[in-house]
Symmetry: C2
Subunit: 283 residues, 2 copies
Amino acid sequence: MLAETKERAAAYRATADGLVTLGPELTELMMRLDARICEWAREIQAAPMIFPPLMRVSDLDRLDYFRNFPHLGMVVTGIRSDHQAELTAKARHTHVAAGHVCDGHHLLPSAACYNIYLDLDGTVLDRPRYVTTAARCFRREEHYDGLRRLAGFTMREIVCIGPAASVQEHLKSFRRRIAEFAGAIDLPLSIKPATDPFFSQDSARLAMQSLFPVKEEFLYGDGLAIASVNFHRNFFGEKCGISLAEGGPAFSGCVAFGLERWLHALLDRYDGDMPRIIATLAL
Amino acid sequence: MLAETKERAAAYRATADGLVTLGPELTELMMRLDARICEWAREIQAAPMIFPPLMRVSDLDRLDYFRNFPHLGMVVTGIRSDHQAELTAKARHTHVAAGHVCDGHHLLPSAACYNIYLDLDGTVLDRPRYVTTAARCFRREEHYDGLRRLAGFTMREIVCIGPAASVQEHLKSFRRRIAEFAGAIDLPLSIKPATDPFFSQDSARLAMQSLFPVKEEFLYGDGLAIASVNFHRNFFGEKCGISLAEGGPAFSGCVAFGLERWLHALLDRYDGDMPRIIATLAL
């Protein structure tokens, strides 16, 4: 395992509760990797944006979040004022009891791109929009695993919202770009269609999904998805009231990169040889 | 008010619950500003690191967090499995009820540097350590205010841990550097001693604090702290078991920048003229 060799152990520290600390070399590597993806975003003139680190329950509700992913959700809430004095007085806290917290009006984001669609609420698009954003995303999992599966991880996305043809062209061009990049840095990836759980509970949508790929994942090694291209059809356009000037809800699609998983793949592929990884990425 | 002019309204969107969306220009500006601060960190060979986006209740407890700041804390927790089906079935969620969540074992960080000290737990230092990190930090406040007071904001810190003299020299040099930078970009700042709430409940410490400045803030306009230099004495060294090779707990001090507040100050000072701000920062 990665973390067992001495060099690699120094590079990062991962815990059983899904938290990772990146040392200077991996911090540098993650910034370079993100800078590379941002170059691609710049080439297509995607607007870089920074979105809030908390999402409203009511906004996630509009996106059917609680119908599909209640088990993954991480609720953010305060400590009830009538229990604060108790906490102050007591020693040795390992947790905040459920009975001591307020109702939660926010969740941590589970994907970077939801905020992009919510931000366009009520917009009529006369041309496709391209947006890029990175966010710390959070998912509550049964178990965590090094850089492969974290409670909080970093997702960079490049999104297109507009007519179906523009979105499909966006996804096609990034599918090619990722494959070329992986080839150039000699990182063996396989491409596999996947099912997007967003649509899994609706049989009409599921039937649609089988007609053409809605989600394709780029897998490293034994099946770790490090990137994906996702066609949402007009799901977010409908839910967020984003319309096309020619009529009807807008289509959308995103290209998503799980940055810590890329670190895992690069460390594994190059046996932890950081100078070689840095040199390879600088290609 | 900033957000009332048309250009500025387009630059960011802030909400009453303390969340802000930055448009492309401000996203770019924040990245440039952070890059500038990172140059200073590089000059002193501070190690760049990325820490987990969640902190353990037990770790914060070691730092007396619940004795001092229980009211500011944002607890992160999951939805109880026996209530998930209920959420799935019901429509129109505006919140997750307190009775539906699990005990919380994590909080969102309220400062970027806590993780640095916790990461050095058990270390014996034979020379001062310099570390830089940026983090989304969170504080539960009575009210929020544009870019000035957010539920989640971005803090860049440059920390020194070591002998008292090294720490004090670090803080002194950054005090000068910030003042010079503010002069160069023509941003009027005043410097004021402040009290650090970490030490406010202990009269011996409070007496110590009055002997020499422990915290100084750089204030813009009507008193908005956009940066601070903080001398922690050996508080974190003691709490986290960080020792000096010559004996005794290590001292520490941090220089902290609230990036969104710098955006506010720059927008205000330059009347929202983004090209001029960018040109000024490129000095």
